[in-house]
Amino acid sequence: MLDFRLDEEQQMLADTIGRYTRERVRKVFRDAEEDGRIPPDVVQAGWEIGVLPTGIPEAYGGFGEYSAVTGAVATEAFAWGDLAITLSVMVPNLVAVPLMFAGTEEQKKAYLPLFADEEAPPFTAALTEPVIQFSPFKLKTTAVRDGEEYVINGTKTVVPFADQADMILVYAEEGGKTQAFLVPADSEGLEVAAKDKLMGIKALPTFMVTYSDVRVPAANRLGGETGIDFALLLAHSRIALGAAAVGMARASYEYARDYAKQRVQFGEPIAHRQSIAFMLADMATEVDEARLMVWEAAWKLDQGQDALRESTVMKHHVDRMVLTVADRAVQVLGGYGYIREYPVELWLRNARGFASFDGLAMI
């Protein structure tokens, strides 16, 4: 019955991730952004918290306790620490989650057990394309059936760790719908091109990947003959990204709040001024509101209900919210907000990306 309190396990998970972000992530995230590289041991420690393996069904080596709501709680907690590091820890989800919810029995058996291991397999996924009017339901990358194979052509961007991947799950238009294909990274015609240069999430290495007549066996089409329910997978992605945005927005708000309480001007903390205090009140409320919208979409998925509408309405709203909150955080810090020594400018650069991050996270 109506309740918005975390249960004991969720609280423990949030606390564990909170400790990890405070003790490991927050110590390295600024340098990681400047260097374009995350210390692998930090990513490994995040992986070892085990959110994904917990969710994988027991038949494939996991604990069989999947919950989109719990995933949202976890993702928010991770992203409070740092978005790029969160996305990095969660890259395996980009293939595991589609397998869990759209894979054939053979595909699940073949690949899911790999995700229950101590180390995540080097798999990634490619959805986004370098076009201005990108629409995940109307992709430019195509897959055409040819005998017992599919032939894939197109260009993808923002593909995390493409340079180290063994397998890339590629989304392509096929038969007028968005389908997905498991493509070994060493396939002929697949080229991992230049490393992306993005406004934010610079610690996460992402790449442009081109497909020139790349051929894969028909068995590599996710979902086999049935294919995938892409709207469902997109809901899983939007919920993950929404939760991440809430986490990062909360970080921005808390940082601004704490700064405003100790920054003294005109003889008192600037938090004593209504203009600042009201901005903070708006930020706190908007973060809480967004969280509830993320949870509602996640809860619907957990109930086996359709969540395309809720996750889409939520996504557009949260994309705006995280930008507004991050922008206000920079504003509260004034001149210091503009300096890279302070995290708020990073959160603003990251925030603007959510409008284009479809497919970059999954839960």
Partner: protein, 423 residues
Amino acid sequence: MISFELPPFIENQGQLIEMVAKQAMRPYSRDLDEHEHTRPTAFVNMTWPFVQEMVKRSLKGLEEQNGSNGSNGHTPQARKGPDYSILALITMIEQLSWGDAGQYLCLPHPMLGGAAVDSAGTPEQRIRFLRKFTEGDPKWGAMAITEADAGSDNSSMRTTAVLDEDTHEWILNGEKIFITNGKLALEESDGLCVVWATVDPGAGRAGIKSFVVEGNTPGVSIAKQENKLGIRASDTVSLHFDNVRVPYENLLGSAEVQRETTVKGFKGAMKTFDSSRPAVAASAVGIARAALEFTREKLAEEGVEVDYTKSLHEMTAVERDLMEMEARYKGAWLLTLRAVSLMAHGESNRLESSMCKFRAGEAVTWITQKAVELLGPVGYSREFLVEKWMRDAKINDIYEGTKQINQLIVARSILGYSRRELK
């Protein structure tokens, strides 16, 4: 465990209220709006039996609690499991306001006066005053707090209460403004009005207490009937209190509150708002839902509908606006449900109440103004109710704590600041 599931009875309740809204509210909306100060008799007559039943149930619960442990029934231990009556009430308010927010305010129910009695009264008082609403003719509850010079700054009120030691009565003098149902409660029925007054003008908050003035008490007169922008079906008046005598036992609160000049009385009374703010938010959300549904319906008639698989680039500006309306409505409602859920589970919710109240007021104002915009000349016409809903919506940014006051409450809470640190 996180859950958005509403108890099954809410849906049944919703269907019933939708029927009430369609039969007894909407057909009279325009007429009542055009003729302010007329009474929504169809709505009152249809709802009075239901209200009596609802109040009887609450009364029974109170009498059981009061009998069983003598506590004031506020402690969480007094309840066995979550209290869903508050959820029923809030969803009812949303559903009635979907029908007509002005008429909803005319519900023959203790309303805000009842909330004040609940927050500040002893169990005996709560039972005594609630009982009025289980019998006889329709009656109304009201609350008189605002004065011409005391709005957001309500602790500077000047209405006084002086104890007549001989007759053991309080004597009230002063003038209150902006009282919803003031006339209905005190002149047109044997209802009640909770009046806030000071027993010690020099003591500020510490002197303020609340008193129940019952219907047809001598000395009460209607000083003014307001003509408003919206919620015109709801009667708003100024009340003049000229040596109004009120029984001693009508001072709300324990003997301690009654004897001492402490802020306990004021704070107890202010707790009213922790439960009434989600109610106002729910009313705002109901109006927003009406406007959103109507806008969607009308646009769909012209082939304009949101396709949730489109990217923003592919959507027209109108489709994007519709999605934003939906998001703001949904966000406001979920925040309201959160505040209510905390109450149902016996937890404090001051911060969450203020958050949902200001956000819902803001959302309904934006949503209804956007609705009129999107519907062009049709939206602007008095042939349709949507322009009335925009006018009805605006009060939600203002009453029961303006948006700015609620932002202030939220800000003080998140910053850990008192009134001295953040003005």
